[in-house]
Amino acid sequence: MAVDYNAFITEETIEGDDEGPLAGTTVAVKDNISTAGVRTTCGSEMLADYVPPYSATVVERLTDAGATVVGKTNMDEFGMGTTTETSAFGPTRNPVDPERVPGGSSGGSAAAVAAGEADVALGSDTGGSVRCPAAFCGVVGIKPTYGLVSRYGLVAYANSLEQIGPIAGTVEAAAEALDVIAGPDPNDGTTRDPRAVDGVDVGVPEGGYAAAADGDVDGMTVGVPTELFDGADERVVGTVEAAIADLEARGAETAEISLPSVEHAVQAYYVIATSEASSNLARFDGVRYGHRADSDGNWNESFAETREAFGPEVKRRILLGTYALSAGYHDKYYRKAQDAREWVRRDFEDAFADVDVIASPTMPVLPFELGESLDDPLRMYLADANTTPVNLANLPAISVPAGEADGLPVGLQLVGPKFDEAAVIRTASAVEGR
């Protein structure tokens, strides 16, 4: 019997169509993505028995394309975490080293792929939750441009930041899954057709995103921002620099760039994400779905008692968001965070005038040991330094294995211009397998 990594919360099969581009492919789906008839817990006591009456658009698209869903994967509660340890269903272990975390919040999805329990997995990425576990587990994860993939049926945490994205063993396999799930959806008003967006001249390559995984980086310019290397573990930096040198050997040029705004990205991200969470998670009132406390109190008391079932990290974020939005603090925190978000967006836009993609470590650290960061929330938040700027700027990014340091996987993050998924997929395909 193989080691149980606790990658799945529910192992149940949803058969796909007989034919299609993903026929014969097994897919693991993060447990905050709705599956009709199969419980969807978000890693929370609150939804331990919740069975959605409908499926997310991405699940419909996968099964229509022939993929078979093999189960619902473990995750930080409501996506709030960087280690998959805040799950009410226990932590997932990293298949590379079971004493370490798989990253989060889509840790079960990355672990399922890394352990060979699924060919492909879906995660969701609000501040790095696809790229972080991909990096820690040594697999590939794509965070699409905001609006490329439908969020219909994704249980919201911070909806202005999050996208569903694929995790797979190879860049091409992740891109094939992206080809299937991408595209406008009438049930998500924020989705766009990349071919019809003003100012975007890239869009979808002939043959789809998978065709961009051709390894041809000759003549490309790779931006290297000093801010995203400063303060990172030197073993991580060394491995990532070696991967970038490989790109140069294949004909890419590198250019040192500066993104001064990203020093404020983690602050802005946590203010915006917790503010949105405080509003989004108000829906868990125990009336329409989810856990309901046995309470004799009035509406307010019953509501508060029901919500005692959230875990500490979820409570922490709801309270921080409530505080940031409360009278007297809104201008100090929320408005300044929106200014920072705009600054980050402009910084990237300026940088992409000169470079095709931007390279950095995905995570500034090697995978944590289990339990190492759980009691120190700020330390966990700071680990998101390199991933959160991408969500704030709505851009596409990929994490691809760059190699190993001390036997542990290191991820290279590549960020592209808006809707230029092809650029990050092409560049990533040139470094994988090194």
């Binding site: 919740y50 009456p53 404020h264 009336v287 779905y289 009035n298 005692e308 709801i318 009691d375 700020l378």
Partner: protein
Amino acid sequence: MTDSSDPDGDPDAGDGDGSADPAVDVAEVEHVAELARVRLAEGETAAFADQFAEILEYFEALDEVPDLDREEELVNVMRDDEVEEGLTQEEALSNAAETTDGFFTGPKVS
């Protein structure tokens, strides 16, 4: 980290030293939890007060961010108001803890 939470949860701790530090005390955490309608478990209040003080101090750096003109390009994405197929009443109620005659049953209002 070794968490040395204030064991007594002194509600006046860290307050009134005249600095710009966003001191967070137990009373403030309780107030925000009340606003958010989230009951905290035993021990969470004191731990949160310490953690929030640290996190909010880190958020202080947002003061250094320049004021920017932000003009969002907004387009109307609402569809026409036409009846479409949706969940059946039975499906919509299928996860409710309590229902009455096809309606959700909530707690008493007061």
